[in-house]
Symmetry: C2
Subunit: 161 residues, 2 copies
DNA sequence: GTTTATTCCAAATAAAATTTGGTCAAAAAT
DNA sequence: ATTTTTGACCAAATTTTATTTGGAATAAAC
């Protein structure tokens, strides 16, 4: 039930613009895509109700709120069975500093993205929370030294419906 | 010049709410934080002008627009000098499918997040674009099988100003 | 204890979103 | 081939929301 929504060039323009800046007014959006406000709004509403647009978020500067350490962590589990995986996932979901958790192919089983205040907080988080999840076997941390690209826009492919 | 902005409990509430849903009306936001619309708006504006809130974005469903493959790629460069690093970064910035690029400690030098249509598109992207960056030494791909957490909200730490 | 800064509210105003009614053109049906 | 239906659109009215204003209350500075 996904991927079968037809998007024309106008819809794509809307998605490109709203991914870059969702605080644009409907009137301005209408002007940029070359339509009047009424059908523009209608299209945006349709994109929302069909689930193409999932949500809208403010992005904050981590440094400005005292979040100085971001990391990726590769996690290997003790067993790869469904039960262990769901135990791991539910434990991870309760840790606020873990902002992403993906099941992956390759070296590890999961990759996490963690954002927290400083190295001390990170150490404590890893020792007291992540390491303590019983099904966790090994952890490999990669500390982010600096971020050169963090686009909030996905490049839209040429539909192959 | 970062991290020295004082945020009280009300500001934090605002940030928590706007990270979760930036499309809330100012009136509703005011109600949720227990203030009237005027000072609420004033606080939001201040958070924007001081750079605490960086931007606002719509999040789209990758599957709904035909983006079926997401990966992390660990990249090692041939040399770790400034010149090679800046060559790599500028090449990466021009590839739309690369949505994130972080300089990291640990196994590789950089980690990328890539989102594209399918495995064929991914292969082509890697072969024709990423591998072709001259300073790239080795690449290790991790394909995302499924995503269990992708929070757009950072957990705000207790200020230590 | 006065002044100065903030922070806030209620109410007025301005701007924006949303609805409405109807036109037009393309596609489907007859 | 003509009619009907459908979908997308626009202009303008209406409703909702954002924003400004002026002033009160509070707390910090002097």
């Amino acid at each position: 039930m996904k991927g079968n929504i037809k998007l024309d060039a106008t819809d794509k323009k809307i998605l490109e613009i709203l991914q870059k800046n969702s605080n644009i007014t409907n009137a301005q959006l209408a002007k940029e895509i070359g339509l009047s406000p009424a059908p523009t709004l209608e299209r945006v509403n349709k994109l929302e109700t069909t689930g193409v647009i999932k949500s809208y978020h403010a992005v904050i500067d981590p440094a400005a709120v005292g979040l100085g350490v971001s990391t990726f962590v590769m996690v290997s589990l003790k067993g790869h069975n469904k039960d262990n995986i769901s135990k791991f996932i539910s434990a991870i979901k309760s840790i606020d500093e873990v902002v992403e958790c993906h099941h992956i192919t390759g070296a590890g089983d999961f990759i996490l993205k963690i954002v927290c205040a400083d190295i001390a907080a990170y150490q404590q988080l890893m020792l007291e929370k992540v390491s303590n999840i019983e099904v966790v076997d090994s952890l490999q941390s990669m500390v982010i030294l600096s971020t050169f690209k963090d686009s909030k826009s996905l490049a839209l492919p040429n539909q192959q419906a």
